[in-house]
Amino acid sequence: MTLIEYFLLVFLFGAALSALFSRENLTSIISLSIFSTISAVLYLLYRAPDVALAQIVIGAGLYTAIFISAISQIRTDRQKNRPEDPLQ
């Protein structure tokens, strides 16, 4: 079981790096969702079902929706002709 732990940790690290260094916002958020899934499996391996449940519920259900709704508010260059309104 320790071998699979190390494998999951490497996998987790890859997902985190992919979330950091990807060019598109959407790709980073998908990576973040994968990240939360992997960490939930890790929590299950360590037998912490409460934490795993919280991680699944928040990471899969909520983070992505909130993050996506936030990045959908980012103005592209085309729409940037309203300087008086910082929150769009």
Partner: protein, 234 residues
């Protein structure tokens, strides 16, 4: 320059952490008297089969009060920062296949959320997780059926009332504890023979319910205030 300084700072901190964690894993983690008490006496003293829930909502319930107030403050702040825009109501949604299938799936989601909240003291889960699932249902309505589906049925005012009533339920549990046991946020679970039943007459049940309602309504409010957008040309 700034990035270089930050790198130096963080690498130093990482080195310190690794060094000291090695010390910790050599000398063994110390579990204090409190942990021993939680594990051995937690069931009888709190009436919750789920130890995590008993620690969160009974031994350290004041922390949970603070944390749910963090959510409350975040909701208030987001609403006050983003509330100048009008919500464009739309009922496009996704295709008919998705709509019908989510008609089937949503009851499952709802039941599992309610289950997590009500069985918070018996199985893993609790108010927070169940509340998040209830909030997710509201998000799903917006995604699948268009934003008018949820907005016309449950107005922001009713969601605010739900959120506030959840928070007040939490405080009421604490204040009832003063009258029954003599301490704020005391658990008024009194009969050990009811250990493991669903309707335990304890404050953990009520606090779970309050936190669940509050978190669900609060997250729904946050989502709907973030997706607000001014319609072009109006």
């Amino acid at each position: 320059m700034k990035i270089f300084l930050l790198l130096v700072l963080f690498s130093g901190i990482g080195f310190l952490l690794i060094d000291n964690l090695r010390f910790l894993s050599n000398s063994g983690f110390s579990l204090g008297a409190a942990t021993h008490y939680y594990v051995t006496q937690g069931f009888e003293q709190t009436g919750a089969l789920n130890l995590v829930s008993s620690i969160l909502y009974d031994f350290r319930a004041f922390d949970s009060l603070g944390e749910s107030t963090v959510i409350f403050a975040a909701v208030s702040g987001i609403v006050s920062l983003l509330s100048r825009k009008t919500l464009p109501v739309s009922s496009h949604g996704l295709s008919i296949i998705v709509k019908r299938i989510f008609g089937i799936l949503t009851p499952f989601l709802f039941v599992s959320g309610i289950y997590l909240i009500l069985h918070g003291h018996l199985s893993p889960g609790g108010g927070f997780q169940g509340g998040v699932i209830l909030g997710t249902i509201s998000i799903v309505f917006c995604i699948v059926y268009g934003s008018s589906f949820d907005y016309t049925r449950y107005s922001p005012q009713s969601k605010t009332i739900l959120e506030v009533s959840g928070a007040l339920l939490f405080l009421a549990m604490g204040i009832i504890g003063i009258f029954l046991e003599g301490f704020f946020l005391a658990n008024w679970f009194s009969s050990p023979e009811r250990l493991g039943k669903l309707l335990t007459p304890g404050s953990i049940f009520g606090i779970n319910l309050g936190v669940g309602i509050k978190i669900g309504a609060g997250l729904s409010i946050i989502f709907y205030s973030i997706i607000q957008k001014r319609i072009e040309g109006k």
